[in-house]
Structures are given as structure tokens and as C-alpha cells.
Amino acid sequence: MTRKIVAALVGAVLGSLLLPAAWSIAQEAENAVELGKNLAFDRKKGNCLACHVIAGGDLAGNIGPPLVAMKMRFPDKKDLRSQIYDSSAKTPRSVMPRFGPHRVLNDEQIDLITEFVYTL
């Protein structure tokens, strides 16, 4: 029993010595997705559910397309970000708020939301 705990501790210490960089990068990405999700679901921020069906969200609207298969629809993540930043650039008649130019969200917030939406 004690031996097991010691082994686990040694393993953990070794692991944290050997893989700190990889661990923190993965953790950061996970955090970005989580933060992005919070911003996307926040009614005062992205409020994406007002118009888009998103996995994990309740009572979504249907004015915009469901947010699914995003990697297939936007092979380049940059294109997804520009769509979130200002959809009217590519779709002039879009009714989606111009989140970037109208400062509804700042650049960092748009980055985080992009990270989240890209996982959908």
C-alpha cells in the first residue's frame, strides 16, 4: 500500500520534471476552449445560442446554421475567426452582429470563442 503511494508519488514527480511543457500547453488549450465556451454561451458576450444550435446549450435559436463539423467547414481556422469577427465581410446580407468592428467582443475574446467553436 505504502509502496504503491510512493511509486505514484515518484511517478508524478518524474512526470512533472519530464513533461511540464507538454502538460501546460495541453492545459492551456483546454482552458482556452473552456473560456471560449463560457464567452460563447454568455448572453452579454457572444450569446451564440440566440441564433445557433450548439452542443451543450439549451433552447438554441435557429436564425443561423447549427455549429457542427466546423473543421470540415473551415479547414483554415483563420477563416472561422474572420467569420466570427465580421461575418458581413463574406456574407454582406448576414444579420450576425459584427462582433469585431462593433467591439462587442475584443480580439482576445474572439480568439477564445474561435478555439471553442473549432472543437464543434
Binding site: A50, C51, A60, G61, I63, V95, P97, R98, H102, V104
Partner: protein, 275 residues
């Protein structure tokens, strides 16, 4: 000479495109709604979103069995019938004693060159009789307006745009307001209520523009209170993060002029109950 001719022709063409007559606008508006909701009869749009949402319609019918606007209507009747300090009353200010006239508002007043709404004239009546004005969005004003709408139920909206450049300008101004994007969120009235009517915005269905003004003032559950059409305009402005204009401002009166003209021929069924 040729250049002048071309310029004149060009201007005429542009003017022709920009200045569709109000009646052409109205017919196009109805036609759009017929295509968008082929199973909804034009006369049913006076029920607002309930005309296009059968489950919500059933719930609304139940609400209408004990109308939440009844208290306001009773208050409005009493206020309407109580004489002012000088012995006169609202009946002295309006045609037909103020009964059954809602359908003629708003109208263009040639004397002032302004669009006159019912609420504006209620306060003008008070001023003419030495009474303090009422606030325009809710309270007693909404109650009196509710009672006057009630006496007009079943009458058909009959908004007139006289052959007067100022009336036409007021109509065009209201129309421009309706179709212009505004606010941080960048929505025009038409973005939601024309282009996306019937769609869900989160858990709420966007109501269709046709018939919008027939049932005001309304008791709105969200407010837990009565409100005039201009109170609702202000709410819409806030929702798109635009600064709301004062009730009865010229812009809102012109907007009401355009919007009510679009529903010409539909029955007045105010006051109403809305979510």
C-alpha cells in the same frame, strides 16, 4: 444638351426606384408575408406571433379568457369619462366623442406638418383643458389608449397619406428607420421582423411585421405591465443596444405612420396580451 437629358433621365429612374408609392409598398409587404407563411390568412396577422405559432396560440387563448389588460381598460374608461377641472372631457377633443376612432391613427396633420398619434392627441387634449401631460410609455396614458382601442375593436385601420410632400417625407422617414441597421448589435427592425420572422431567437419566435400595430397598447408579461407602441419601440432599440428615442419623438411617430400603413385594412384588436 444630351448630358442634361441623360442626367434628368437618370434622376427620374433613381427617383422611380426609391419612391415606390406607399400602396405599392403595402402590397409588396403583404405579398412577402403570403409567400413566407402560405397557410396564414392575411386577416389573422392581427394576432401577432400567435398567428404563426399554433402551440403559443392555444396558450394565448387561455390568457385571453381572463385578460391581463382588463384592469387598465377599466381605469382607462374611468379616466376617459371623468371630466377635467374645467368641466370638459376627452370626448370634447376627438371626433365621434373619442369612441371607435383608433383605426384612423396615426394621421398626417396638415396644419402642423407632423404625424399625430392617438397618445399625442390625448396629451394635447389635456393641455388644451389646462391639465398636466401624462407620460407616454405606460400608466394612465396606456390605460386611456387601451380603452379607446377597445371601443374601436373590429374597425379597420385606415391610415391616409395625403397628397402632401411633407406627409410623404414622414412616411419615407419611418420606412427608412424601419429598414436601417442600428445599435452595437447592428439590427434593423426588418432584420428580425421581416427577414427572419417565424425563426427562433433562443426560445422565442420572432413575430411577423404585418399586423404589429393592431393590438397596442399591450399588457406584456415581460413588463408585468401595460405599455404603448412607443414603449415597445424603445425596448426593441435597447435590445439591439441602440439608445432608445423618447416616446412620441418625431422619429417614432413617423415609424408608427409607416408601420401602421403597412397593416392598413386590418382590424384593430387592442388592447392585447403579449409574452
Amino acid at each position: 444638351m444630351k448630358r442634361i437629358l441623360v442626367t434628368i433621365l437618370g434622376m427620374a429612374l433613381v427617383a422611380g426606384l426609391a419612391w415606390a408609392t406607399p400602396e405599392e409598398d403595402r402590397l409588396a409587404f403583404i405579398d412577402y408575408h403570403k409567400k413566407r407563411f402560405p397557410n396564414v390568412a392575411v386577416e389573422d396577422y392581427l394576432n401577432g406571433v400567435y398567428a404563426i405559432n399554433p402551440p403559443a396560440y392555444q396558450q394565448w387563448l387561455q390568457i385571453e379568457e381572463f385578460p391581463p389588460y382588463e384592469l387598465a381598460m377599466a381605469e382607462g374608461k374611468e379616466l376617459f369619462e371623468t371630466p377635467f377641472a374645467n368641466g370638459k372631457s376627452y370626448a370634447d377633443c376627438f371626433p365621434n366623442g373619442g369612441v371607435g376612432i383608433r383605426q384612423n391613427y396615426p394621421y398626417f396633420d396638415a396644419e402642423t406638418g407632423q404625424v399625430k398619434t392617438l397618445e399625442l392627441e390625448i396629451n394635447e387634449c389635456r393641455a388644451a383643458n389646462g391639465e398636466a401631460p401624462l407620460k407616454y410609455s405606460k400608466g394612465k396614458m396606456a390605460s386611456i389608449s387601451a380603452y379607446m382601442a377597445f371601443t374601436s375593436r373590429g374597425q379597420k385601420l385606415n391610415i391616409v397619406i395625403p397628397d402632401d410632400a411633407r406627409a410623404m417625407a414622414a412616411y419615407e422617414d419611418g420606412k427608412a428607420y424601419y429598414y436601417s441597421k442600428r445599435g452595437q448589435l447592428n439590427f434593423s427592425c426588418a432584420d428580425c421582423h421581416v427577414a427572419n420572422s417565424g425563426m427562433m431567437i433562443r426560445a422565442d419566435m420572432l413575430s411577423p411585421a404585418l399586423g404589429h400595430p393592431t393590438h397596442f397598447p399591450v399588457y406584456r408579461s415581460k413588463w408585468d405591465d401595460m405599455g404603448t407602441l412607443h414603449r415597445r419601440f424603445g425596448g426593441c432599440n435597447k435590445q439591439v443596444r441602440a439608445v432608445p428615442l423618447p416616446a412620441q419623438s418625431e422619429e417614432y411617430r413617423n415609424l408608427e405612420y409607416f408601420l401602421t400603413y403597412m397593416s392598413n385594412g386590418m382590424e384593430v384588436n387592442g388592447p392585447g396580451a403579449r409574452k
